[in-house]
């Protein structure tokens, strides 16, 4: 049975000037035709600005189509009387968990919808109880939403729509702002609703892995529907998807690359288990890769940086740093506990850990936004910020200020240390940095940092232009308002704002959160470019093991304020048990290769797709039939 029918739907935004005259019309959706089966799980993919969110709002009459009709259980959304019945049938969960919770107590928020449709009190309570138990949030019913994690807040939002007893729930990028464990929580709740209650799910997402379990994928590009099919059908078009700024799951990409190499894998692989099965089958069949395999040299990570990092040359050293949250209250807890670490000059070091593991407290110590109370931090820049020492003052006479330039290692707690000057050397880009943009033009916004440094306007402008260019922002955008740009562009402008100050250490906190796959890859390429062209040291705070595996060369693992693991990517990811005991996983590719190795395919482990192709090719062209693994000792 068809639940939602979309017929010849178009949607246009009109922009008007102050005199209410139309300046331009932008077409967000054009000529869409499809229908959604009751009880199915449909995933809508598409890059930032492809019209997905507009489409989502059409499903429950939050917006009405400019042309065409949308029928929800036979009701036309353009008819006034149908609006509220449609909204009861089609519930909606939005991206930002904070902006959709209305009440200050969880259970009252879940009851908000039923109250609006005028249900009797007893029934409201019953629905609230059912909805909370369906997402396993009964234990939090009396809590304030401000004390919940992102994943829990989204589950409350789901319960809020569930209490309306909808037939369909539309989720508009519900996991974009969550960490991996929150994402998993939300996705599991959604799948359970489909399975147990038969509710249709329409999920809009940027994460290809979330689309794997869907019954059907709709791919949007510039307001048009460009692909429609099962995950297996859609994900077999690896190259076409990349043209639409999308991606395929990493495992699918690996299988695709193996096929190209000559591995006889027939179907499109979506999951790790499927690929494992295929590879075991190949092993049993005695498959051997035809071409004579010669190991190509993988580019060494150190070659990515122009400045060869020297052993023992550290830009930052942290010794026994501790920090306490809400000191002196009953909620007192350690944010950081006796933490010591070093960051090698010229490296790309990743910091991983759960939300609340102390990552952001640590990075704020590094640029002096938080001052170390116990423990010491040393920095050593090519040009250290000067120490300003003021002499003793006597009555009304201020002592003479002396400025000391000090080479080499400098302690942040040294007398006269200028924390503001430190912030120009240690650039910190917070999560969602586009929220800090404020100037009238892009160029002026990027110049803010250099001007604060005391540069002249000309110098500041030159620095700003250089920073914008290095992130691929073209001149045509300089005079635009930063608020007019697309999400990915805003992000880059905000990063350029920090870059323009010429930091030697750049700290990026989840720089790719919320970007579409192509935007994510672009940004990482540009970050890698910064390292090469400006000899910058980069500290990357990330939740994604796959990104860390691909781009970082050293890893720090934080757990409950303590540094648990430290070393190269290879060293850290070889400690599977320790990572799992902290609730952190392996990169997907490594997890696959690890399983293969455990089950008899004796080969070298790797973390990225290219490493895995390399290792598997080596294995299948080597002389494994005699029981000798290919050793890469």
């Amino acid at each position: 049975m068809e639940n939602i029918v979309v017929k010849d739907v178009s949607y246009q935004y009109t922009r008007r000037n102050e005199n209410d005259e139309v300046i331009e019309t932008l077409s967000a959706l054009s000529a869409l035709n499809f229908s959604i089966e009751a009880g199915s799980f449909v995933c809508i993919l598409g890059h930032n600005g492809s019209g997905k969110s507009t489409l989502a709002k059409l499903f429950n009459a939050l917006q009405l189509p400019t042309e065409g009709t949308i029928l929800v259980s036979g009701m036309d959304s353009r008819e006034e009387k149908n609006i509220f019945p449609i909204r009861r049938e089609v519930g909606m969960v939005f991206q930002n968990p904070d902006n959709q919770i209305i009440a200050s107590v969880v259970e009252e928020d879940v009851g908000f919808g039923p109250e609006n449709i005028g249900l009797p009190t007893d029934e409201i309570w019953q629905r609230v109880n059912n909805a909370l138990s369906a997402v396993h949030m009964e234990a939090y019913r009396l809590k304030s939403p401000n004390h919940l994690s992102g994943g829990q807040k989204q589950r409350v939002a789901i319960a809020g729509t569930l209490a309306m007893e909808p037939k369909t729930i539309v989720l508009d990028e519900p996991t974009a702002m969550l960490d991996p464990s929150g994402r998993k929580e939300v996705l599991e709740s959604v799948l359970e609703l489909k399975r147990k209650k038969g509710i249709s799910i329409i999920l809009i997402t940027h994460y290809m892995e979330e689309a794997v379990d869907a019954d059907r994928i709709l791919l949007m590009d510039s307001g048009k529907l460009v692909m429609d099919g099962s995950p297996r059908e859609v994900f077999q078009n690896v190259e076409r998807l990349k043209e639409y700024r999308m991606d395929v799951p990493l495992i699918t990409e690996l299988a695709h690359k193996l096929q190209k190499k000559g591995f006889p894998i027939e179907k499109t692989i979506l999951k790790k288990e499927e690929l494992e099965e295929e590879l075991f089958k190949l092993k049993e069949e005695g498959f051997s890769l035809q071409e004579n395999f010669t190991a190509p040299e993988l580019p060494g990570l150190s070659e990515l940086s122009s400045e060869k990092p020297e052993a023992g040359d550290y830009i930052v050293e942290v010794n026994h740093l501790s920090a306490i949250f809400q000191e002196g209250t009953a909620m007192e807890s350690f944010a950081l506990k006796d933490l010591s670490m070093k960051i090698r000059r010229g490296s790309l070091t990743a910091v991983i850990g759960h939300t609340g593991s102390g990552k952001s407290t640590l990075v704020q110590h590094l640029n002096g936004l938080i001052k170390a109370k116990s423990g010491e931090i040393f920095v050593s820049f090519r040009e250290n910020p000067p120490l300003v020492k003021s002499g003793k003052s006597f009555l009304f006479f201020k002592g003479k200020k002396t400025v000391i330039e000090k080479k080499g290692r400098l302690s942040l707690s040294e007398e006269g240390f200028d924390y503001r000057a430190l912030r120009f050397k240690v650039g910190l880009v917070f999560q969602y940095p586009e929220y800090q943009l404020f100037e009238e033009t892009v160029l002026a916004d990027v110049m803010f940092g250099p001007l604060n440094q005391g540069k002249t306007r000309e110098d500041a402008e030159a620095l700003a232009k250089d920073a914008l260019a290095s992130l691929g922002i073209g001149e045509e955008l300089y005079a635009k308002s930063p608020f007019e740009l697309s999400g990915g562009q805003k992000r880059k402008v905000a990063i350029a704002g920090v870059l323009a100050m010429g930091p030697e250490l750049l700290i990026l906190d989840e720089p790719t959160a919320g970007l579409d796959p192509a935007g994510r890859d672009e940004l990482f390429e540009e970050i890698a470019g910064l390292r090469k062209n400006y000899a910058m040291t980069i500290l990357l705070v990330s939740h994604s093991m796959d990104d860390v595996a691909r781009y970082a060369d050293e890893v720090l693992v934080l757990h409950q304020g303590e540094l648990k693991l430290e070393g190269t990517v290879e060293e850290v990811f070889s400690k599977k048990e320790e990572l799992e005991s902290m609730g952190l996983g392996l990169p997907q590719i490594r997890a696959l290769l690890f399983d293969l190795k455990k089950n008899g395919l004796d080969m070298q482990l790797g973390n990225t797709v290219s490493e895995a192709v390399h290792a598997l090719s080596a294995y299948f062209s080597g002389d494994y039939s005699e029981g000798k693994g290919v050793s890469h000792a």
Binding site: R87, G118, T121, N146, M164, F430, Q436
Partner: protein, 268 residues
């Protein structure tokens, strides 16, 4: 930095006062306030103080918590006391340079101090024993009569409860934006007043942008959940008067009656 601010000072224990209907507590605070300004004799003040002390005991909120509310009005208290003390004409008690303290001044100042302290304490009982939500609910229903005059009672109550939910979020956001701009070298601590005001622009612009975005999102989320104003809305937690509530009303009106009565007999 700003995160330590706590909003709504609700003190969660289960007491007789906590269980009372929020409308009773709202009305009670109001009636007590009237009584406080009607009486003008020391005996009556002593009685009211005793009553207030009884309420505090009943609420099971530690006295130290109650007194905390006084700190914020300490300055106001000292100011009005000293004005009354020195600027009331009358019989001179002693003189310090040009300042003279009068007998009348002393009397008025001490009454003023007592009134203010009791006023703050009684409203603290209200906020310490009632959740912000119950308070807005109570206001919505208690002031329902004003709907007849087209006064948007429901809308105002809804706005208050949304404000209560979003203030902590916006406070945290301000903190974040401040830090982000400090990381770009913004300096909020030095310079002239003009410089400092100008330094607020990089905080205020993003904060406003974000507040508007949140408001838009929230409106969308409310509409998606069929919100259409107070019309035809039911309540998950409707307010019901119990015996204790009626009893409390009786006690409160008795107090007010006694306060009015005290004006007609001469008490020391």
């Amino acid at each position: 930095m700003l995160r330590e601010i706590t909003l709504g000072q609700y003190y969660p224990v289960n007491s007789f006062i906590h269980r009372l209907d929020s409308r009773v507590k709202l009305a009670g605070t109001f009636l007590f306030l009237i009584a406080l300004f009607i009486v003008n004799s020391w005996t009556a003040y002593a009685v009211l103080a005793l009553v207030l002390f009884g309420f505090i005991l009943l609420s099971k909120v530690p006295f130290s918590f109650m007194v905390r509310g006084l700190k914020s009005v300490l300055f106001l208290l000292l100011l009005s006391v000293s004005f009354n003390l020195f600027l009331t004409p009358g019989e001179e008690l002693f003189r310090f340079f040009f300042l003279k303290m009068t007998k009348e001044g002393l009397q008025i100042a001490s009454m003023m101090a007592i009134r203010l302290v009791m006023l703050v304490l009684s409203s603290s009982i209200l906020t310490l024993t009632t959740t912000p939500n119950a308070l807005t609910d109570g206001m919505e229903k208690g002031l329902g009569i004003f709907k007849l005059f087209h006064f948007p009672v429901h809308e105002i109550a809804m706005m208050m409860s949304i404000a209560l939910r979003f203030i902590p979020i916006l406070v945290e956001e301000t903190d974040k934006i401040m830090k982000a701009q400090m990381a770009r070298g913004a300096d909020f601590e030095s310079g002239s007043i003009f410089d400092r005001a100008k330094a607020m622009v990089p905080i205020l612009v993003p904060l406003f942008v974000s507040a508007f975005r949140r408001a838009y999102d929230l409106a969308m989320a409310m509409e998606a959940r069929c919100y259409q104003g107070g019309e035809g809305r039911t309540k998950m937690k409707p307010l019901h008067y119990t015996k204790a509530d009626y009893l409390s009303y009786l006690v409160l009106f008795l107090i007010l009656g006694m306060a009015i009565g005290s004006r007609f007999i001469s008490l020391p």
